[in-house]
Every structure is written in C-alpha cells, then in structure tokens.
C-alpha cells in the first residue's frame, strides 16, 4: 500500500515539475508542501545523482560549423570534411587544412556540422577544376583563380560569395548542384553517414543538420536547421536551399519545410538564426518581413514554434547588446560588428540596430505578444563559432580563425574579412567565440535536442564556466547555503528558459544564480541579471543589476557596481593571473522593482576578469605587429537563456 502511495506522490510530483511556474504551481493539485517534496526527493539517498529528475551536468558543443563541403569554406581552402570536424570535436588531434596540427584543450560533448545547403559540394569541384565546372564560363574563371592560389584564389572565393548573396550564381551550376541531383544527393549522404558514425550515445553526440543560407541582397537572415533524428529519417528529405527556382529565402517556407519534415518522417527539427548584426534591420522584424510578408499572427506563431533559440555570439561578432541601444551598459560594446550587411554592399544606419540585437529582440517580443498573442522572439541563447575550417575553435589561445586563410599565420591579422569601397571588417576584429552549454539529462541526440527545445541552455564566448539560473517566488539566502542548491532550484522554481506566471499576492520574482569559472580558465568578475519589460503604455525598457561581484566590491543602491575588477593581463607574455576575481559567485536576488502586472524577462550575464584576446597570442607567438585599433584584452562572458514572467 505504501509503495502505491509513494508512486502516486511521485506521479503528482512529476506533474508539478512539468507545470512548475514558481509559486503558481498548478492550483488543481493543491499547494505543494516543501517538506513532503524534500522527503520524496532522492536527494537524501546515498547517491543523490543516481535517480534525479533533472539534469546535473552541462554538455558543451556548438550548432554551427562549416567544412569543405560549404561552398565558401571550400573556396577559402578548407579541405576537411565532416568526419574530420567530428574527430577534432571529440578530442583527437588532426591536421588543419593549412597543414598545422591542432587539438582542443579538452573534448566537446556534442557537435552539429551545418554546411551551407546551397550548391553543397561545388567548392571541391571548383578547386579541382572538374569538367562540368570548366564547361561554364564563370565556373572556369573561378576555377582558374583558385588554381592560381593565394590572392587570386581568395578573390575568386569572394566573387563567388558575392554572386551567391546577390542571387547571381550561373543557372547551370545551380542545376547541377541542387537537391535531387546525383551530385547533391551524394554530398547529403556523406553528411548523414558521418553524423551517424560519430554519434556515440553517452559519450559524444553528432547532430545532423545544415545551414539554410538566406541572404537576400547581402542581408544576413541565415538559419541553421538541427535534426533530432538519425539517417533513417534524414535520408527521407533533402535540405532546403535558397537559390531560385527550387530554393527560397522566405523563412515561412523554411517553417513549412520543417513541418513537412516532421509530418513525413515522424522526426523532430528546429531552426535557429544568427548574425542579426549583419541583417541591416531585418532579423527581428516588427511590421513587415524582408520577404514581403507581414508580421502577423501567422508569422509570430510560426517563428515562435520553429525557432526556440537564437545564436547570440560567434566569430562575426557578438549580438547580445549594442552600445547605441544600451548606452548605460558599459559591457555592451563587446566584439561589435556594425559596418553594414554581410558583404558590405549597404552601410548600417543606427535605426537598423533595434531589429538586430538579442536583448532588443527579447523586448520587442513582449510588445508583439501583447499585440498578436504570441511572442515570436522568445528564444534561448546559443553561442557557436560559425567557423569555416571544419575546426570548432572558440578559445583565444587556440583560435584557428574564420576560414582556412585565417588559420594561424603572421599575416592573418592584416587581411580584412570583407572590404569594399564602403568599408571593411578588419582581420583582427574576428571574435574567437563561442560555445553552447546544454543542461541535458544525458549525452544523446534526443536529450540534447530536447534540452535545446526547452531552452535550458546558455551561450559563452568560449570559456566553459558553469552557470545555474533559477527563477521563482520563494528563493531566499538559506537556499544558497544549501549543499545541493540545484535540488532547491528545481524544487522551488524554474530553470533558465522557463516561465513564471501570475505572481502570488505580495510576492516579487526571485532568482538564484550560481556561476563557477572554467576549471582551466579565468576567474569571474561579476554576475548580472538583465531585466527587460513592457510598461502599461506599450513602451519597452531594460535595466541591468549587478547581483554578485568579486573582491569585496559593493553594489550601490541603484543595483550597479561601477568599480572595475582590475586587469592582470601581461601584454608582453599574453598571460594573466587569477589573483583578482572569484572562482565562484552565487546569490539570491529579488527584483526590487517587480510589478506583478507587467510582462518581463530576466537573464543572467556572467563576466570573466580581463584576459588576452587571440590577437595578443598572435603577437607573442608569431611576432606579429598589431594595428592600434585592435583590442588586446577583453572580458569573456556567458549569457543564459531568459526566464519570462507573464502576468
């Protein structure tokens, strides 16, 4: 009888966990008694981690990596394939396309290889001057440029990318390298095979995916597509492309593709966008979409459904916040790329920024939700490299660049990433960023995909700090002293990516946050909670709170600590010491300005103490002269997925 009772208790507890929006625990099962739940919990068992109902580990990886199968990567000299990419990620030493040996400081736990779906595999054929390419005048021109090598090859590559982003790829090439053609099917099969082979449940997860590279007029509206499934399902489809006549640049068509995939195969998939900073105001539309549609009920519902995450930091700049939008945020100007669109055919205007950066989008999302019933920009945070080398490197002292031409060399700093008459993205401005941490139950495709879908993830600019973030109504300082805070976190609240609804009378939202530095990395400067909200007049606002700071500094009544942590970086040796900062910061914070009637979101930003940027390592190791404009040190960081409050 007592076994049955316990089973019932467990059943109701799981129900409560599933719908656990803090204090608003589903009222139809009564209010939960903390003592009862504690007694039920395996936390009191000898091995508390054996039978837990929540993730106790983060798994590190990234959802954005290109190999030689991507046309631009291949043209820039990448000769590695998905197989090599997975080998490096799981910890093996390999040889990069530039001939240099490379190994990660420690293995990643999972990886998605996401090659550009358009004319996939064409790069290697152009490199090799395949007969079908030489028969097409433009193809011949590119192949010849490539064969000459060096500068001519780079020019050919850039010309090809421009043709691509301006929709001008010769029709004959498109036809031969489009989904359905024998060449294309062979490439897709190779990607699937590599994924299935390197996927090793419990040890290393290889996700099958691709990048849908929608870039009308050079406006970066790219999305990566991630599948939860294996080759059996992946083989039933071919990736969606963007070049007409088969392809499309309208995200609504991508959502249809995703729906078709799920219906046809019974599998699951989602998409995530990146580099809004190069979309020139089109990544997070509020009225009209670039494809000519309206931001209406259908658009916001579809976007919310298919895009649970957003890639907020990567090599082509950091997209969390912009100093123009957040003038009081002294940390907002981090790895900022703001010249123009992807190929710099149109310069940036300040009014575009509002629809490009994650923090602003989270705010806009609240307003759109009020207007249309669904928040289209309710996304979790992702960090990835977008590297085009087959090498997932996001660490400053082991950074292998954006493309094979920017693998370590004495000249890589001086070559601009893009340069036109209008402006340039200089070589030294590449950001050695980032990775994604996923709080998953285990290291399998299913568990990692599901965790991403519930947004229990955070982004970092490369370091692997550990971040826990819970929101609820009952957190207090005693919880912090608890020896198993994660148990309290899940018992009393929701994790990052979760929802709080309907504040109990007289209660303000409270948050418990823990941050532990990378075991081989730099100490932490501070923990911040960033709040965004929508007031009664429909205006959006944001506010930054420093909630835990190192070295005994004080936080003022306005919630800020304006005293910098200091800087120990030795510019001659590219070194720093952990004599400042803290290895762990933890706190419980209650929103002092909480208004139960106002929609809001909260996410945490963790800052490290200053450390060298990759260019400083180049200077010390390769004796490179660095331009004055290049930043030499920076504060790396983590961004958690938000927790949303909805009255």
């Amino acid at each position: 009888m007592s076994i049955r009772n316990n089973l019932l208790k467990v059943f109701f507890l799981s129900l409560a966990m599933m719908s656990l929006p803090g204090g608003a625990i589903a009222s139809d099962i009564g209010s939960p008694n903390l003592e009862v739940i504690k007694g039920l919990y395996p936390g009191n068992a000898y091995s508390p981690y054996a039978k837990r109902l929540f993730p106790s580990r983060v798994y590190w990886g990234e959802t954005h990596l290109h190999t030689g199968l991507s046309l631009d990567a291949g043209l820039f000299g990448c000769t590695l394939g998905p197989e090599d990419a997975y080998r490096l990620a799981r910890g093996e030493e390999i040889i990069a396309s530039s001939g240099q040996p490379i190994k990660l400081s420690r293995p990643l736990d999972w990886l998605a290889v996401t090659d550009h779906s358009d004319i996939m595999g064409v790069a290697t054929d152009i490199q090799n001057g395949a007969p079908n390419i030489m028969a097409i005048p433009k193809g011949k021109e590119w192949a010849e440029g490539f064969a000459k090598g060096g500068e001519a090859a780079a020019k050919a590559a850039f010309d090809l990318i421009s043709h691509f982003s301006q929709n001008k790829i010769p029709e004959e090439i498109l036809k031969q390298y489009s989904p359905g053609s024998p060449i294309y099917n062979k490439v897709w099969e190779r990607i699937i095979k590599a994924g299935d082979h390197f996927n090793d449940p419990g040890h290393f997860t290889a996700l099958i995916g691709f990048e849908w590279t929608s870039v009308p007029k050079g406006f970066n509206l790219h999305r990566n597509v991630i599948l939860r499934d294996d080759g059996i399902r992946a083989r039933q489809v071919v990736p969606l492309t963007t070049q007409p006549p088969i392809g499309t640049t309208d995200p609504l068509d991508l959502y249809q593709w995703l729906a078709d995939y799920e219906n046809k195969t019974g599998g699951q998939a989602f998409a995530l966008a990146h580099n809004g900073n190069m979309s020139n105001g089109w990544m997070f539309p509020t009225v009209e979409t670039y494809a000519g549609g309206k931001v209406d009920k259908n658009y916001v519902e579809q976007r919310a459904k298919w895009e649970p995450l957003y890639e907020v930091t990567q090599i082509k700049g950091d997209g969390e916040a912009h100093p123009y939008l957040s003038p009081t945020d002294e940390f907002a100007d981090y790895e900022t790329w703001e010249v123009g669109n992807l190929d710099i055919t149109e310069l940036k205007k300040p009014e575009m920024l509002k629809r490009e950066y994650a923090r602003e989008a989270l705010k806009i999302g609240l307003a759109l939700e009020t207007k249309l019933g669904t928040n289209p920009y309710k996304f979790g945070m992702v960090g990835a490299t977008d590297s085009h080398t087959g090498l997932t490197t996001a660490e400053e002292e082991n950074f292998f660049g954006k493309s094979t031409s920017t693998e370590p060399s004495a000249t890589r700093i001086s070559h601009p990433f893009v340069e036109t008459k209008l402006g340039s993205y200089p070589g030294y401005s590449l950001a050695a960023s980032g990775y994604q941490a996923v709080w998953a139950m285990e290291n399998t495709r299913e568990a990692i995909f599901d965790a991403m879908k519930r947004k229990e993830t955070y982004a970092t600019t490369g370091p692997r700090m550990l971040v826990r973030f819970f929101g609820g109504w009952e957190f207090d300082d005693n919880d912090l002293r608890s020896r198993t805070p994660a148990f309290i976190g899940y018992e009393k609240g929701v994790p990052m990516g979760g929802d709080l609804t309907k504040a109990p009378k007289g209660k303000a939202a409270s948050f418990m946050v823990f941050a532990l530095r990378d075991p081989i990395g730099a100490n932490l400067d501070r923990v911040q909670i960033i709040k965004g909200w929508l007031d009664k007049d429909g205006e959006t606002h944001e506010k930054i709170y420093d909630v835990a700071v190192s070295d005994g500094r004080t936080i003022g009544a306005n919630g800020r600590c304006k005293t910098p942590v200091g800087n120990t970086v030795d510019l001659e040796a590219a070194n720093w010491t952990n004599t400042i900062g803290a290895s762990e910061l933890a706190t419980v914070w209650t929103d002092p300005d909480f208004d139960p009637n106002v929609k809001a979101f909260y996410y945490t930003r963790i800052l490290e103490i200053p450390t060298p940027r990759w260019v400083l390592y180049d200077k010390v190791r390769l004796g490179v002269k660095i331009p004055k404009e290049a930043k030499l040190t920076h504060q790396e960081r983590a961004y958690s997925s938000p927790i949303w409050y909805t009255p």
Binding site: Y49, N128, L466, L516, R517, P519, S583, A586
Partner: protein, 298 residues
C-alpha cells in the same frame, strides 16, 4: 604484409594500363597525333544524351549539327593545344590529373573488404584508440583556498583527520566549503572528470587507492579531499562489440596508407636532381641504391 601492400599497386598499374589501351583503341580510332577525326556513332549518341539532360528534350537535326561542329572544333583545338604543349605548366590540368590518379587509388581502397583477422590485428595494434576509459566513483570535500588563504592546508589536514577517523560519524556531505559541483559521483569516465575538475585532478583520482580518504588534491577551484569508492579499469572491447567502428577506422587508415604506398612505389622510379645544390635538396636525398646503380649504367 609487404606482398599485401604490393597487390593494390598491381591493381593500380593494371587499371592504368587498361584505361590507356581503352582510350587508344576505342576513344578515337585515328589517335591524337593524326590529322583525321573520326566521329563514331557512340559519340553522336553521347552528344544527344548530354543535350537532352540539360534541355529535357532531344536536339533537332540542326542543333545536332551545331553540337557536332563544336565537338569537332573542340577536338581540333584540343589536339593543337596538346601539340603546342599548352597542357604543360597549367596548374588546373596538373591538379585535375593528380586528382584523377588519387581517385583511382581511393576506388581501389574502396573495393578492399577487410577480413576478420585484419580487423583483429588493427584493433590490437591501435588498442589505445579503442580502449574504453577507466571509470571512477568518488566523493570529495572541497576546501576553498581563495576564501581560507593560508589556513586552507590546516583545514585540509583537520578535515582529513575527521574523515579518516572510523569512529567519527560526521557526514562528509556536511563538511568543507561550498562548490557548485556535486559532492558524490557514481562511476564516471576519467575524461568526463577532467572536463569538470581539470586533468591533473582526474589523474590524481585515478591513482588513488580506493576505500580511504586522501588529499588534499588540487583542482582548478581549490583543494579537495577525495575518497574513491570504486575504480573500474578501462578495457579493450572484443571485435564483435565494436566491429563497425573498427571497420570505419581501418578503411580511413587503409585509404591513406594505400595512397602513400602507391606514391612511394612510383617514386622509386624517379630521381630528383637540382640544377644547383640548395637547402631544399635535403628532402630529396632518399635515392635508393638500385636507382643509383641504374643511373650509373645510363
């Protein structure tokens, strides 16, 4: 082993010879040096088929004539270009020919199916890449050096005494300072422990005697007293358990090795000479005795 490796080279040379004969005999009966161009029925069929592939319909009579004209034009220019030696020093042509040769080698590698013995041997000679990791179950008590400063070591010895005292009934979970990481770990691969605590810590752990509290051991975060509760050695799985993985790794290694061996064998036929002695010559001095003797004769 040597004879096995030679085998693919023979394949390689035979295929090469066969292709040569094939082209010589059937491609163009008149041969590239001749001034006669013979258009075979096969070629006309091929022209028609490629046209149909791109236009979704067969060519008209007039269009076919156009196709043939341009084929003739192409063939004439091709022969003249060859005669003038325009294929020499052309990077694209060189690259393409290199690629074709390498593809031949990959194709040969692809048709070789490894036997059970070969896989077993590969498994044994590459044991380190297939061995499962050692696993350790452990508990730890953390001492925060940043917080305790110079007293951290004292605190460590004090706590170690308490933990080692069999009569003491204090629960290790209640001892030490706070750390976000779990205090008890079930059997965990040593690589996973390294990801969480750093590599030196994981090595200390794996070398500790199970069943007794020891330390302090340093991690990236501070000091730890550790108790290994279980230690499972890594092992080399049986071939049947990981056959697919071994096959994959064998094929990757085989492709690489074959390409290298074919190159080495062909390379034997060549002598590399420099107009002037340069510092680069060092790479090319591996001239075999057989080659030297052969040269002397000439």
């Amino acid at each position: 082993m040597k004879s096995l490796l030679r085998e693919p080279l023979i394949h390689f040379l035979c295929i090469g010879a066969a292709l040569f004969l094939l082209f010589e005999l059937f491609d163009d009966p008149a041969g590239p040096q001749s001034s006669r161009i013979v258009i075979t029925d096969g070629q006309i069929e091929f022209l028609k088929a490629s046209y149909a592939r791109s236009r979704q319909r067969p060519p008209t009579e007039q269009e076919l004539q156009g196709l043939i004209d341009s084929y003739v034009r192409e063939e004439i220019f091709y022969r003249e270009a060859l005669a003038l030696g325009l294929d020499k020093d052309d990077t694209i042509i060189r690259k393409r020919l290199n690629q074709k040769l390498e593809l031949m080698s990959d194709d040969i590698a692809g048709i070789t199916i490894p036997s059970g013995e070969q896989l077993q041997e590969f498994l044994e000679t590459h044991a380190e890449s297939f061995r499962t990791e050692p696993q350790v179950a452990f508990r730890h008590v953390f001492i925060d050096v940043a917080q305790r400063g110079y007293q951290a070591d004292d605190e460590a010895s004090k706590l170690l005494a308490v933990l080692s005292d069999e009569k003491s009934n204090s629960d290790p979970v209640t001892l030490g300072d706070r750390l976000m990481l779990p205090k008890t770990y079930i059997l965990t691969p040593v690589g996973e422990i390294a990801k969480m605590f750093g590599k030196p810590f994981s090595l200390e752990l794996i070398n500790s005697k199970p069943g007794q509290w020891t330390g302090p051991v340093q991690s990236g975060y501070g000091l730890h007293l550790i108790l290994v509760t279980e230690h499972v050695e890594g092992k080399l799985p049986q071939l049947d358990e990981i056959r697919e993985t071994v096959e994959w790794e064998w094929s990757a290694a085989h492709r690489k090795e074959l390409k290298e061996n074919i190159y080495k064998e062909i390379r034997e036929k060549y002598t590399i000479e420099f107009e002037q002695p340069t510092s680069n010559a060092g790479n090319f001095q591996a001239v075999s005795a057989a080659q030297a003797a052969q040269e002397k004769q000439q």
